[in-house]
Symmetry: C2
Subunit: 619 residues, 2 copies
Amino acid sequence: MSQRTPSPPLKSPIQEIINDLYNRYREVHTGEVATYIPELGKANPDKLAISVVTADGQVYEAGDTQQTFTIQSISKPFTYGIALEDNGRSAVIDKIGVEPTGEAFNSISLDPATGRPLNPMINAGAIATTSLVEGKTTKQKMHRILDAFARYTGRKMDVDNNVYLSESETGHRNRAIAYMLRNFDIITDDPLPSLEAYFMQCSILVNCRDLGMMAATLANGGLNPLSGTRAVIGDYVESMLSVMGSCGMYDAAGEWIYNVGMPAKSGVAGGILAVLPGQLGIGVFSPRLDKHGNSVRGIGICRELSQRFDLHMFHVSRSGRTVIRHSGHGGLTFSNRMRLESETDLLREHGNQIETLELQGELVFSTAEIVIRESIKKADKADYFILSFRHVQVVDLVAAGLIKDLALEMVNAGKTLVLSGTRHLPVLEKVLKKELTSESFNQLQWIQDTDIALEQCENLLIQSHTTLHHSGHLANLGESLLLKGFRSGEIQLIESLVKKCNYKKGDNIINVKDPATELYFLMKGKVSAWIDISGTDGKRVATFTSGMVFGEMALLDRAPRSARVTADTDLECYSLSLSDLDAFAEKNPQLMIHIMRNLAELLAQRLRKANAEISALYK
Amino acid sequence: MSQRTPSPPLKSPIQEIINDLYNRYREVHTGEVATYIPELGKANPDKLAISVVTADGQVYEAGDTQQTFTIQSISKPFTYGIALEDNGRSAVIDKIGVEPTGEAFNSISLDPATGRPLNPMINAGAIATTSLVEGKTTKQKMHRILDAFARYTGRKMDVDNNVYLSESETGHRNRAIAYMLRNFDIITDDPLPSLEAYFMQCSILVNCRDLGMMAATLANGGLNPLSGTRAVIGDYVESMLSVMGSCGMYDAAGEWIYNVGMPAKSGVAGGILAVLPGQLGIGVFSPRLDKHGNSVRGIGICRELSQRFDLHMFHVSRSGRTVIRHSGHGGLTFSNRMRLESETDLLREHGNQIETLELQGELVFSTAEIVIRESIKKADKADYFILSFRHVQVVDLVAAGLIKDLALEMVNAGKTLVLSGTRHLPVLEKVLKKELTSESFNQLQWIQDTDIALEQCENLLIQSHTTLHHSGHLANLGESLLLKGFRSGEIQLIESLVKKCNYKKGDNIINVKDPATELYFLMKGKVSAWIDISGTDGKRVATFTSGMVFGEMALLDRAPRSARVTADTDLECYSLSLSDLDAFAEKNPQLMIHIMRNLAELLAQRLRKANAEISALYK
């Protein structure tokens, strides 16, 4: 069937969705660039960039993600993390509350009795936060802040001096707040070095990729997923996310959590950062703002990403890096079909054209993302792809949609995709049937038993490389593997002992507990050995084709049969009675040694195959 | 070592912690029982109950968890779920906002312009919510509400009529609110049937177990984990949790999310319900209230549970039901050590006394809980327990602490616990070393290679059942498995062919690529065959002890050696040159047939063992 033809690299459907969002939001032109300081007014209002970074560092992005802008209020939760590290949680809580205000970002919102700012996301709380960063001077504090931010982004950070000077010159309201904090002893020494550090911290230059990476670092428990550097003590990440969640989006915090469901923070230069804990981080940059001071396109894109991928933090997902139970290729892991030596050699050489991904757990966005990423990576060299869903408990609609996108990519690239073990997940077939053209859908293979799926792929691979040596009829007994190396006169001796017998498809040739009185040379057709397991269709333990022998274990122990053997097709066999063989062995001992050696060799081959499979399964 | 002696069932450390919490909080007597209606004042103030129910239905509880009380405000998010089902999200949002108020529960908090209640957790929003439940009459609405609540609890629900009448008689403020809502057309028809339904809904009788189960159902995406019944459309669970998260704890929502980190709801009868999405639900009942109207003990217990188990919703966890990669017992899965037939028979019969749990992913509270639950379940019949951490990426302190508790339980019960593949997780050994007495710690086995760990357990099991037949020296060649069934004269013939050779521990007897010129009868000691894998210690593929042969594959193909064989101890062997054996076979063909049959039988045994292992691994 599918011949190995060069095909373009597969496209990630997730990247496609980001591209589509980018293209649609480029056409949105509402909102105004912030102008409260002249420097911000100079931004190009049409810029747009999106970066989605997973908690293990995979980046999906679109637009001008390297364009720098000032971080502004998005710095607040990160400086809060530094203050927690430098003072401990209770000392920080003493100075700054964690209650939402329901007021705008520049409200003063101090507790009337204690002067304690209600939370660290409003300016008063943020200035108090910066005052808690280690260091007496502005320079010392900024050193600490720039170092910390660099651990999140993975690159050295700088301040935009023009924006900083502009902020400082026009920051009268913040200066008033700083002195109010000094008045209430929230700041206990000169407030000006802290205030200047606050202005500088807001003027740190970031790009959209930086925001995505900072968010992903929080999603990853404070560990930068690319550099492996710890950006903040893991225990404080939950506090940073808590204040972002309850106070991050100013006067619409409840609505944001309700609809978008991710702790987030925006800045007036047009940046937005959002975090789905344990899963991913989002950065968006677009300078036009709504009346709340949030990026219009940024808000829209976050909403759509959340809805499209079900990223709400309360969407029940047991995400995991362990969605892939086992991944193996056909050169290492084999089906239970017994193969001729030449076929096994061919599978060893070319078997990496068959890839199997055995999945497990729950398929939601974050786990499906990993499946797609792995599939695309492996599909480059593989023509045959088996996705086994046997151990998957749930597939949600988002994941089913992504599998559909992946299937379409694979079919279009001429790959053979087999979906296995899907019977308990009707939603999967339903979504694929509904959303693919019938032409594409019909190119998918649905085979419930993963072992049989693997056998089919092996057959296709072998067919594409060669005509099967023994696809049909054996000319004579001498081609049987048990008689390998026998001379023609010797074969005639055996022929005089055997009895021809034919079976119809479906016949049981051997039943469990039958006495073991003969072995069979298979001349034409296919048989399988089965172990019966109550309540199931049984388990296929081996399949034999022409040239092979079955029932051969009787040569070793004359114990009753332990498996049922059934004809998969009409058969032609020769049976050899063991008592006849015993008599023959008396007269022809050298030939019997030869038969026994051949048998031992067949067993040794099967053992090597089994051991390779165990190693692969344990990998 | 550890003999099979009857031991009491193992205690779950999680249950122990719940018991401890219960015992400590029983001594807390602050707070006052609600008295705003006389019926509530009759509650026994000393009652205390705790129920923790995991998202897959495991219940841990203490105290009088069957004592009923009225649900009160805890009904609000659940009725909100019904309103969402009956009207869709946007119609509900049109009538009721989702913003926190920062005010007390009985504040009126209507938007001054539109009359829209700020959120569904304050009384105004809750009465509006009940008005949105399907049905014209109080009876129709209550039918819908009781049915829905029964799906969460798994039992039929009833109303406490005395409390209801008392609420209705004294509910003047709520009556005022209802008419205010009618005035603003938030309620568009007679408000009284909805108001009465609201009073009744608050008077539904629940017990602490019910609260735990309702919470667990939300944690499980709306599916009751015990009955499998869907209690609410999954898509609305995130909305219910969102309003609980931002508005559930009245005027301290920010502080609650910051410190406890779970969406929660309390009722004035003393109930508290908290949800950790995807993981678990908590119910607590204790009637004495603080000045905010929340159960004093309930708040304290929720806080402690959150801290003790790191249950904050932003604690990065990739929880999963799939923390157990593989679970097998020693009667099905074997080490790579070659065994005598009698040993293999013994392992088949008694091997279920060895249990192996191979773990994967991240160990945090929710995944460690599953490990502990499974371990305790399996430990009843097993004396030997292997926990393999090879595929575990992270163990947090909570999980390490729980593993420590489990280890102590096992050691105290006389079980042999082997911790395997822990080298990359130093925190585990550190916590166990620090928190266990050195006597307990020294009873743990730390064996990095899981295969060697399994072998050691097999050895201990075999030793406990029998003296090894061939533990020491073979008396003569006739005891070798390859010569099984040989008569003494026949053995003497073989003895005339072999050469005695001794090796020191650590000697390489066979090297990869050596020509295969002889096979070895092992008379005393132990050897292992290794495949070298660059960058690792190599992989042990087989271990042989006295009575066995090695290098025997040379009998089949005379190809160069494919594995290195190294002496694990000082050895005594006999080597047999293959050319001598060939000459012998010419003269003694029947003996050669016998040798070949014995060889094939050994291979067949190993193959059966390998196939059983593959089946177990695929299970």
